[in-house]
Amino acid sequence: MSRLPFYLIVGVLMLAGIAMSVQRHVQFEIPWVPGEQRKVWEIEALVNFNAQDGPVMVDMALPSHQAGFRVLTENTASSGYGLAFKADDFGRRAEWSIRDAAGSQQLYYSVQMLVSPDSQAPDLTPPPPLVDIVWERPYDTAANHIVERAWSRSADNYTFARELMLDMGGERQGENARLLLTQYELVPLTVRLLNHAGVNAREVSGLLLEDGRRRQSLTQWIQVFDESEEQWALFNPLSGEQGKPDNLLLWEAGGQAVLEVAGGTNSRVNFSMMTHSQPASAAVRNHISEDTLLNFSIHSLPLEEQALFQTILLIPIGALMVVFLRVLVGFKTSGTFMPVLIALAFIQTTLMTGLIGFLLVVAVGLVIRNYLSYLNLLLVARVSAVIITVIAIISIFSVVAYKLGLNAGLTITFFPMIILAWTIERMSILWEEEGPKEVLIQGGGSLVTAVLAYLAMNNPWVRHITFNFLGVQLILMALILLLGNYTGYRLLELRRFQPITDEEKSP
């Protein structure tokens, strides 16, 4: 049996992988290490609505150059629709129109924003003159009361806005605030109160940027104008904090509606986003060569799918880790690739929360599974019962964690429940057959493997390489094939067989 074809395949995979990676490095100037280049955020907005068998007009706010971000390129995908971009004092907007549409409609808008800390906000429009605010009967005294209270404790417009927000939202929320909140929403109400006090303020919408997030929506913020400094300042309406977080992109900054649909119902807009690093020059050039056949890559997919692939492409790294630990080290794990799935969950939950959550669920699950074994059930029914148990445990832990104010506890839902149920089932059988020692060995082996896989998969350099260089997948494949051909000793066998070699010396 010749091994030549095997080494040939490995060699071809290796060479092809390296060649593809080098080609991407050279042609697209993608760096080998992350972080030395500028960050680019790709953001995709998906507008969904149901058209009502007739003409439809969709009007959506678009982001502009602003402090911290510059617009690089933007694209839309909306078959059959007419499209116009408009810009006025309040910002830029896109207007889609169609004569006749029916059923569910999807419009895509994607934009590349370059992170540039030195970018300045455009000249801000001076605020329009204030209109008089009229309150209905029981609310006017409440409004006056809140305004007076905040006014007396402030020195200028900004401090007034802060005090007002603390009274409205935070722990200091009083009876008057609660009365007003029965009639108005928090953010519009705060703006109304500010205007009532003669302070120019408006509601704006921003997107909190987090890598790989999908189906996000906009958050609401309040801009307050100060006449003496002649500029707008941004406030978090919930905490009263002043200033813009670094990862906040203002999507709509003119106090207008984000999305207006005429001729459709049930309209909403979702955002997907991800970041990658590239030289600013290449970022500009990138969209020119976009359509060539050579640029066949997942980077031509819609952003939502790309964010998904960012995770999928990490799985081979986890698999390589498992192969390495089992073949070269000799770890025992319960379920071959269970540790990879646990590691994927750790990426969502962060390591410590994930470890604690995992141990809690498995420990409680084992106790309950121990009782189930007395009932003498058939396997499928028993595992199904364990699945329901796991779901119950996770729900209870989430609620308890939330009540205790541990928001991190909520991420426990990211654990793959079926896998957890099987893990509990296997551990339990192992406990009955081989005793608790073997459970500790295999459980510990699985956890150590999961943690190592997590550390490898969560490494920024690894994430950068796997996502930007698809050729790396071929190299990983070649490495795994090579490991599958390894006939040497495992590390732990050096300990297992140690007594044999040791005895030579003793007589």
Binding site: E434, T487, G488, Y489, R490, E493, L494, F497, P499, T501
Partner: protein, 331 residues
């Protein structure tokens, strides 16, 4: 201390020790056709095959394949004083029920506990529903004659039946060991649970060295009997039976588990297509040199020729007796 002592790959290689990876790729992967695995994973198939090939194994009283058949089990059991009920696809000794004697509707286990017919029926029904089989798949219950264990070896075991594992490579007996159950192993013959493994000389069937928990051991920890005097009777017949399993299954790398019956001599208990590597520990020797030697031998040798070859080339002296105490070689 055990955790701190490590050896080097070089030392292991010079001893000819085979690791898991090498066993999987080089021997199981190359010599064991996956198509043939069901023959050994299903004990009923193994037994029927053994009967066809004239390989002695505990006589089959009957099988129960349907829940309906459970009701007729009494017809099968009458006239048999002792019997063993086991699942055909069970692993690791799970679901094996040994009844030493039955009298007036009471069935007595070796421990002395008595069962009634309903208990037996429930056990068989559990086997059929897959309680003891891998993956919970439906199974078949086999009822076999009780093995009357050879008394000459009784002193070396605690509760359980000691079995003899012979590794058969391309039909040649390569290495053998006996597994003696202890109090620590709870009467089970599993080495990692504390059973004593005794390496056996392929030429004579006498003890080479004893190992418990990977440490040398010179006497049975419970009975206190000296291991050096252990010698398997009828050794050549046992090797011939084991070697014949190669023709029977076609599996090139095979673990055969044998027992010694007082009346019928050596018998095949079950086969294993993925035998473990602990036999190297009990023999204090690696498998590699012997396997290499066998790979160099011509094909199509008769079982008798293969056994003779192995007895000639793999003979060794016991490490349990010091040369001064030993008047003549046990061979």
């Amino acid at each position: 201390m055990k955790w701190l002592s490590w050896t080097t790959p070089g030392k292991l290689r010079s001893k000819g020790i085979i690791g898991m990876n090498r066993r999987n790729i080089r021997y199981i992967g190359r010599y064991n056709n996956r198509r043939l695995f069901p023959l050994v994973d299903d004990k009923l198939k193994t037994k029927l095959l053994a009967q066809q090939h004239g390989i002695t194994s505990p006589a089959l009283i009957g099988t129960v394949t349907t829940q309906f058949g459970v009701k007729h089990i009494l017809d099968m059991l009458t006239g048999h004083a002792g019997f063993v009920i086991k699942p055909a696809k069970g692993s690791g000794g799970k679901g094996i029920l040994v009844i030493e004697q039955s009298k007036d509707g009471a069935y007595v286990k070796p421990s002395g506990a008595a069962l009634n017919l309903t208990d037996i029926e429930r056990h068989v029904s559990n086997i059929l529903s897959g309680l003891y089989s891998l993956g919970g798949s439906p199974d078949v219950a086999m009822i076999e004659n009780l093995i009357h264990f050879d008394e000459s070896l009784m002193a070396y075991t605690y509760e359980g039946v000691p079995d003899i594992r012979v590794i058969i490579f391309k039909g040649y007996p390569v290495m053998a060991m006996m597994r003696l159950s202890t109090a620590a192993s709870d009467g089970k013959a599993n080495l990692h649970q504390g059973a004593v493994g005794v390496g056996l000389d392929i030429a004579t069937g006498t003890a080479l060295r004893g190992v418990q928990f990977d440490r040398p051991c010179y006497a049975h920890p419970d009975t206190g009997h000296d291991l050096a005097s252990l010698a398997v009777p009828d050794w050549k017949t046992l090797l011939l039976l084991a070697a014949g399993c190669y023709e029977m299954t076609g599996l090139g790398y095979l673990g055969t588990d044998m027992v010694l019956d007082r009346r019928h001599g050596p018998m095949l208990l079950e086969l294993n297509a993925r035998p473990g590597l602990a036999i190297q520990m009990t023999n204090g020797e690696g498998l590699r040199p012997r396997l290499d030697m066998i790979e160099a031998q011509p094909e199509d040798q008769s079982p008798a020729a293969r056994v003779a070859f192995a007895q000639q080339h793999f003979a060794r002296h016991s490490e349990l007796v010091f040369p001064a105490d030993m008047p003549t070689s046990t061979a």
